[in-house]
C-alpha cells in the first residue's frame, strides 16, 4: 500500500512544528508503522537535534532529491524506536535548491518506502512552504492560543484549501490555568474563528524542554502530558477516528473529553 505524506505547518515560527513532527512521528513508529520525518527547513536544520540524531548525519534531503545518494542512505534509522527514520535538511544550501516539482517526484519514492512521512515545514509561506506542501496528501496545522499564531494559521489554512488539502488543527502550548482564568484563548475560542477540524490539544509541558535538552523522544517519557497528547494525535492519524480529544484541564484528575466523532477522510 502507498504511504501518506503529511505536512506539519503553521505559518508562524516557534509554535511547535518540529516538536510535533518528532513526537507524532515517533509515536506512529511505536504503533508499528514505518515512519520518516523530513526536515524541510533547508539551511536551518533542527529536527535532527530535537531527535538526538545530529551526530549521525551523512547525507541529507538535498542529496537524496538531487540523486547524489539513495533515499535509504539519507534516511537515518533511529536506534531507540524501530521503524523510525529521519531525513535531515542540508545545513549549507539555500532554500531554493529544491523546487515543488523536485518534491512531487521525490514524494513518490517516499510513499513507496514508508507508511507515513511527516514534512516539518519551515516558518513562513514562501519557497520552503511550497516545497513542503507540494507532495503532501494531508496537512496538520499547529497553532498556539495567541492572536498572532491563530491569525497565521488562518492564512495557512486558506493556502492549503487552495491546494485542495483539508488540514486538521493541533493547538499547542495550552496553559489550562490561564484558560480557566480567562487569560488565554480556549480551544473553543480558536475553533470559533478558524474553520477547521481539530485533531488534538497539547498543553504546555516542561518535559518538552527536558526532552529537547537530552534529545530523547518526548513520547518515550512516561507521564508527559504533551507526549501523551501527541500519542493520541498519532493514533487518530493511524485510523482511530473515534478516539476522543482530551481537553487539558487545570486539575489533572478531572479529564474533560469532548465526544468528537471523526469522519473517515480521504
Amino acid at each position: 500500500m502507498e504511504g501518506r505524506i503529511i505536512v506539519i505547518t503553521s505559518g508562524k515560527g516557534g509554535v511547535g512544528k518540529t516538536t510535533a513532527t518528532a513526537s507524532i512521528g515517533a509515536a506512529l513508529a511505536m504503533e508499528g508503522r514505518r515512519v520518516a520525518v523530513v526536515d524541510m527547513d533547508i539551511g536551518l536544520r533542527n529536527l535532527d537535534v530535537m531527535m538526538g540524531l545530529e551526530n549521525r548525519i551523512v547525507f541529507n534531503i538535498v542529496d537524496a532529491v538531487h540523486g547524489r545518494c539513495q533515499l535509504r542512505q539519507a534516511a537515518i534509522r533511529d536506534r531507540r524506536i524501530k521503524n523510525l527514520f529521519l531525513i535531515p535538511a542540508s545545513q549549507s544550501d539555500n532554500k531554493n535548491v529544491l523546487t515543488p516539482d523536485d518534491m512531487i517526484r521525490f514524494s513518490k519514492k517516499l510513499r513507496s518506502e514508508f507508511d507515513f512521512v511527516f514534512m516539518d515545514c519551515p516558518a513562513g509561506i514562501e519557497q520552503g512552504f511550497e516545497n513542503s506542501v507540494a507532495g503532501a496528501n494531508d496537512a496538520v496545522v499547529i497553532c498556539t492560543p495567541e492572536v498572532a499564531s491563530v491569525r497565521d494559521a488562518d492564512r495557512v489554512i486558506g493556502l492549503l484549501y487552495a491546494r485542495s488539502i483539508t488540514p486538521r488543527l493541533v493547538i499547542n502550548r495550552i496553559v489550562p490555568d490561564m484558560v480557566a482564568n480567562g487569560d488565554m484563548l480556549s480551544h473553543d475560542d480558536v475553533l470559533d474563528v478558524l474553520s477547521i477540524e481539530l485533531i488534538g490539544l497539547v498543553e504546555m509541558d516542561d518535559r518538552v524542554v527536558i526532552a529537547t535538552n537530552t534529545g530523547t523522544p518526548l513520547v518515550m517519557q512516561k507521564g508527559s502530558a504533551a507526549g501523551e497528547a501527541f500519542q493520541r494525535i498519532a493514533k487518530r492519524l493511524n485510523g482511530q477516528h473515534d478516539l476522543p480529544i482530551i481537553v487539558p484541564s487545570a486539575s489533572k484528575s478531572i479529564w474533560k473529553t469532548i465526544g468528537t466523532k471523526f469522519g473517515i477522510r480521504r
Binding site: 495567541e146 492572536v147 491563530v150 480567562g182 487569560d183 480556549s186 474563528v193
Partner: protein, 97 residues
C-alpha cells in the same frame, strides 16, 4: 486563594484578557480575509465596466470602484456617472450586426 478570588473579581468586571484577544483576532481575520489584491481589483473594475456598459453609456474615466471598511463590515462602492440609458432593443440589434 485570595489571589484567585481577586482575579475572578477582576474577570467578572473586565472579562479577562482573552476576550480582548478574541475580539482583536476576529477583526484581524475579517481584515485579512477581505484583503483584495490589485490584480483582483483591476479585473473586477474591468468586468463591472463591461456589464454596466451593456445597459448604460457611462463615463469610463470617472468610474470609481472602492472597498470601504467600517468597524465590522466592508462594502464595495461603485460610483459612475451615467451619460445615457441604452435601450435593450438597440443593444440587441448592435450585437446582431
Amino acid at each position: 486563594m485570595i489571589n484567585g478570588f481577586f482575579r475572578r473579581l477582576m474577570r467578572s468586571s473586565k472579562g479577562g484578557s482573552k476576550n480582548v484577544a478574541k475580539k482583536r483576532l476576529k477583526f484581524a481575520l475579517i481584515y485579512d480575509r477581505l484583503e483584495v489584491s490589485d490584480d483582483t481589483l483591476n479585473n473586477l473594475n474591468r468586468d463591472i465596466i463591461e456589464v454596466i456598459s451593456r445597459y448604460f453609456e457611462i463615463d469610463k474615466k470617472a468610474f470609481k470602484l472602492d472597498i470601504c471598511r467600517y468597524d465590522d463590515v466592508s462594502a464595495l462602492v461603485v460610483n459612475t456617472p451615467i451619460i445615457a440609458t441604452k435601450h435593450k432593443k438597440r443593444a440587441k440589434s448592435k450585437k446582431a450586426k
